[in-house]
């Protein structure tokens, strides 16, 4: 079991561009949560997807959107990138029968 896999590992984008990050959950998990982790801070909750619907959302603007596919994999899209969006983006998966989340290694996004 590869656990949670995220792609790409690193990404450099220009301010104003759009970006899509991808996440494949751990086998047997059907719920995906996305986090933004800035340097020196803990992961900040962006949103969670379950049954292809956004179930819960943190304090992030509408520029941040997502999608979950029937195979439970998920995408995080960020439009109109700002310099402040530079961070490590983490994906975590879970299921209704598990307590706690399994995390991926993250995607390092740099906006220049």
């Amino acid at each position: 079991d590869a656990g949670v896999t995220q792609s790409p590992t690193h990404l450099i984008k220009t301010r104003g561009q759009q970006v899509t990050l991808r996440c494949s959950p751990k086998s047997g998990h059907d719920t995906v949560s996305w986090y933004q982790q800035a340097l020196g801070q803990g992961p900040q909750f962006i949103f969670q997807y379950y049954e292809e619907e956004e179930r819960q959302r943190g304090n992030f603007p509408d520029r941040f959107s997502g999608h979950q596919f029937p195979n439970y994999s998920s995408e995080l899209n960020v439009n109109a990138l700002l310099l402040g969006d530079s961070a490590l983006y983490l994906c975590a998966s879970s299921s209704p029968v598990t307590y706690g989340y399994t995390f991926g290694s993250g995607t390092r996004l740099t906006v220049v």
């Binding site: 949560s33 803990g42 992961p43 969670q48 379950y50 819960q56 983490l90 975590a92 307590y99 706690g100």
Partner: protein
């Protein structure tokens, strides 16, 4: 609103000494609290969950609802315990989670 506070950014102890990493939370319902650990060059991994009342790698954590705390403790720290530790409050039913900003633990030989 739910909030998690880890008051210590850095904590340094000598090998064999007791260690306590503090976590305080703010939450109106029944909290589901976790400790996650991130070793150097590794991904975040679950260390403890309060509902299990378990001991992992010698670490324990007790939920104190009166003090709204979930401190992580180990009686004898080891060098391999050096890592970043995050306290997290996860509302499993609602799907929302809040992490603290983490404490970097360094265990000196």
């Amino acid at each position: 609103a739910q909030r998690v506070t880890q008051p210590e950014k850095l904590l340094s102890v000598f090998k064999g000494a007791p260690v306590e990493l503090k976590c305080n939370y703010s939450y109106s319902g029944s909290p589901e609290l976790f400790w996650y650990v991130q070793y150097s060059r590794q991904r975040l991994q679950l260390l403890l969950r309060h509902i299990s009342r378990e001991s992992i790698k010698g670490f324990t954590a007790d939920l104190n609802k009166g003090e709204t705390s979930f401190h992580l403790k180990k009686p004898f720290a080891q060098e391999e315990d050096s890592a970043m530790y995050y306290c997290a409050l996860i509302n499993t039913n609602a799907g929302k989670s809040t992490f603290g900003d983490g404490t970097t633990l360094t265990v000196k030989p």
